[in-house]
């Protein structure tokens, strides 16, 4: 009986909407420990893979990441905290994975990296890991402001057969429970993440696809302007929060 009352209370307690909270804190202590201790965090295997790729030439003709950028702990520190960023040459916003894909094509004479491929996830994880512990600091330029407005509109738009917006779950009902799980506030503080459900590393866009198919809507394509806009808005919404890559999430 006590347990039932507790469950009801948990359903009815309203999230501290004013208090932003990483999904890390919504997990049980064992899962938090798995993230906090690198020796137990499987996401670190992708970071290590990325470190190896960083120093390797994709083709004999091309250069390695390190040939241009040097040591990642110095050159990549804080970079992931500033993405998505405005790509002035193309006149659009670009996400971190997109920038790595672009580098591979333009400067490394390599075969293109596919979205969600192990290689791209490893490189993205390695680069993002260099910003672990740093606050999210989205760029202030006008191009990104426009992108974020698009993202915010998408975030507020009801979608799919279930007719839910991102905001209805992650703003209005964050902290409440959906079945047995706490609805997180949805801050992208630890991407790419090692999701226990996936038993592997995955990007924010993969996670967004999961939400969008969950409300029975047709997901946007990987690397699409829509996904990058949502990502840009989410990063602004999480401004100042600390990056955790590689995060563990259920």
């Amino acid at each position: 009986m006590k347990r039932i009352l507790f469950a009801l209370l948990a359903c009815c307690s309203v999230a501290g909407a004013e208090e932003r909270r990483s999904g890390l804190l919504d997990m049980r202590p064992e899962a938090q420990a798995m993230q906090r201790d690198d020796s137990m965090n499987p996401g670190m295997l992708w970071v290590l893979e990325g470190e190896a790729l960083w120093g390797r030439k994709p083709t004999t003709a091309g250069q390695s990441c390190a040939d241009c950028h040097g040591d990642a702990p110095g050159s990549m520190r804080g970079v992931a905290a500033r993405y998505p960023a405005f790509d002035a040459a193309r006149g659009t916003a670009i996400d971190l994975a997109g920038r790595i894909i672009q580098c591979r094509e333009a400067r490394q004479a390599g075969t293109p990296l596919a979205r969600e491929s192990q290689e791209l996830l490893a490189l993205t994880s390695f680069v993002a890991h260099q910003s672990r512990g740093l606050p999210i600091t989205p760029p202030e330029d006008a191009g990104m402001r426009a992108t974020r407005e698009v993202g915010q509109r998408l975030y507020m738009t009801r979608m799919g057969q279930i007719d839910l917006s991102c905001a209805q779950c992650h703003d209005d009902h964050a902290g409440r429970r959906l079945a047995g799980s706490i609805i997180p506030q949805g801050h992208p503080t630890g991407y790419p993440i090692y999701r226990l459900e996936w038993q592997a590393m995955g990007s924010l866009q993969r996670r967004l696809r999961g939400c969008i198919t969950g409300v029975r809507a047709e997901p946007f394509a990987y690397g699409s302007a829509e996904f990058i806009a949502i990502e840009a808005y989410l990063m602004e919404r999480a401004r100042g929060m600390v990056l955790e890559t590689p995060a563990i999430r259920p």
């Binding site: 690198d38 020796s39 137990m40 499987p42 670190m44 295997l45 290590l48 893979e49 038993q199 592997a200």
Partner: protein, 106 residues
């Protein structure tokens, strides 16, 4: 080669009990899981993990499909002498990997 993350002390006092942690990248496909087309994926797991200290087996474990993807194993041994600690994983489809770390014992 699968990525491996090892936490092994680089030095220890003689006689000290040291904890070692090993994490390796592996899908640990159970052999019970259907793919999107409904076809059961064949089993592909690591089934043996062995730790040797200067050649002598100090720990070994038999793993089943119930071990999580990217297997994590922690255990202890006594630091007896300076030498090499090797970690070996063996699995389905000829999977075999060995990693070595040096420990200085004073």
């Amino acid at each position: 080669m699968a990525r491996v993350l090892l936490r092994v002390p680089t030095s220890a006092e003689k006689g000290a009990v040291i904890e070692m942690r090993a994490l390796i990248q592996h899908v640990m496909e159970t052999g019970y899981r259907p793919n999107a087309e409904g076809v059961v994926q064949p089993r592909d797991i690591i089934w043996k993990f062995t730790c040797r200290y200067d050649g002598e087996v100090v720990f070994n474990a038999t793993l089943s499909p119930a071990i999580a993807a990217n297997p994590f194993i922690a255990f202890t041994t006594i630091a007896t002498q300076s030498g090499l600690i090797t970690f070996t994983w063996e699995g389905d489809n000829g999977f075999a990997q060995t990693e070595t770390r040096h420990i200085t014992v004073t």
